[in-house]
Symmetry: C2
Subunit: 371 residues, 2 copies
Amino acid sequence: MSILRSLPEQVDFEAPALAAAGLGQWEIDLSSDSARCSPRAEALLGLAQGPSPRTLSSLLDAFIPEDRSAIAAAFSMVRSTGCLQFERRIRHAIDGTIRWLHVKGGLSEDASAPARLMGIVADVTEWRSHQERRHQSESMAAISHVCGRIAHDYNNFLMAVGTNLEMYEEQVTGSERARRFYDAAQDGLQRGARFNESLMSLAGRHQLHLAPVRVDALLLALEPALRTQMEATINIELLRPSGPLICTTDARQLEAAIQQLATNAQDAMPGGGTLRLSLKERVFDDREAATYGVAPGPFGVIAVDDTGIGIDADGIAHVVEPFFTTKAARRAKGLGLSLAYMLARRSGGFIDIASRLGQGTSVQIYLPHII
Amino acid sequence: MSILRSLPEQVDFEAPALAAAGLGQWEIDLSSDSARCSPRAEALLGLAQGPSPRTLSSLLDAFIPEDRSAIAAAFSMVRSTGCLQFERRIRHAIDGTIRWLHVKGGLSEDASAPARLMGIVADVTEWRSHQERRHQSESMAAISHVCGRIAHDYNNFLMAVGTNLEMYEEQVTGSERARRFYDAAQDGLQRGARFNESLMSLAGRHQLHLAPVRVDALLLALEPALRTQMEATINIELLRPSGPLICTTDARQLEAAIQQLATNAQDAMPGGGTLRLSLKERVFDDREAATYGVAPGPFGVIAVDDTGIGIDADGIAHVVEPFFTTKAARRAKGLGLSLAYMLARRSGGFIDIASRLGQGTSVQIYLPHII
């Protein structure tokens, strides 16, 4: 209270407020295409030391080429709306990382001056990734709900058909040849029932047997099977901690998930490559745990890494969705990632996927670690 | 260029930049629980005229009660992270509207002073609604893709079973009683096939017959059927423009969608009420069109409004998802809204839903208007 009282009532606190919030400022003279940035804005834009004022186009060059047409569209709206707002990616000129920036501004309120745009810029990479994660989890919850409802309805149809087919078979007489059609019909019903089972898993309605599992031992035991399953062009590495690492999960489902992820990895390396399975421990504090929507504490992290074709940035946001496929996201083929996602979630963990086109993909399964 | 050159190189432009971006500033003295806001921050928080400095808790009271525990959690992170960031809803004290505010700040960089938080506040209601719309459309695209893939696989199973069942029936002999089991099995297959059809519609794979449709005439022709279909406790109103209004859509699917929405509306009014069907025209400029992900131009808007129980804020974001249900979202029962969503999207329009608990729901179908 004393500090605030000692300040004059009308003191400006724009500069320290912007500093504390990590925002930079900029202004653009629309008539001359020149722009000026505060030092923090320059740093956020990842610009190397340069002349001031800059040209507008040199500022826009900080953004990645894929995003520039959207930025041009945002600028073209300024004339009608008086406002500029977009959220786009830069590639940092110095460290080369991709960051999301939020740019917001408007025409200067000084009507006597020529058209000037002014505003702020903020790095929203972490905030955005948090939001995307929340949306992904909502989207997966909706998909999983839909799969469950569909499986439930189909189960009723399949049961009705199956029961009546059996009753019909008991009441009729026919040749050996007729029997083959009966068997083929039954086979179709069974394939439907198996498909229904995987939908039930996607819906999280499949029963899990959650128990303490020695994940280090499980990986070691799985290695020979993986060597048999993989083609000879795939080099397999296994990195385990020296001691036991125990997580809460369903051992059989985890084995199946890892085998499926290994197959996806192989599909992503048509010319051969390295499949690296590794296991480590990580501890999440409250903040990290909140980011991933889990309880804070220690996690066992199983990583399935390949040196394959990779998944592009747009694909990676959707890669856990069932049946999702793009040419650049061949690893997502089938339901492997979706089932791994559900298993991790239902075990109290999550999965994290990182990828670079042409360099490979890393799928990390986080499971609660029992110490 | 002349303007920029005439400015001294190091002039502060924080204040005009904040003004142009519409941001307010605030500071909080953590030791005394007192806070100070810039006039714009006060306006954004929707505060009535009050003393300055304010208490922190009087600021937090601007936020709606449901959001306060999340804000408290954000404050509790300041000690470990040095940062404060949250996006939560206020109810404007003067005009009563709900707005989303983004608050971002950090501990003052002045290490000699006692712990002070400073930062900015922005109204992100429109930005957020744009993002939510984009996420909803991505989520629906994913759900629709999943429905399509499932329907495709099930179609194969049902076809295999159906074909073999028929072949079997040709090869065997049995009684009239046996025949009934055969018919019951066929009936199960047909129910499965009909369900498959609706999944195909959700997947947007159902063939649409898009053509110019006189929507005003369609509504007039539909009215008698609705009066027959609705219970006597439901009062029906129809508001049409005096002239013809022609939109691009599939006439039969639109009729079915309206009838389904009317049934949903009736379900939301168990004690009776008013169902109002109305039709008007709206023109979208580039900006509005971008918000809704459609092409700019004129739209015909068919509104199906009720005076029923309404849908809560959390439900409304998910209400178009197939099979979505909550107690407060009974209008979403079944696939009516999802199918209306797909029809509008495939016609080049969209649907918009507004609702207030206890007051009713308005579903608006926007279709491209042909002039």
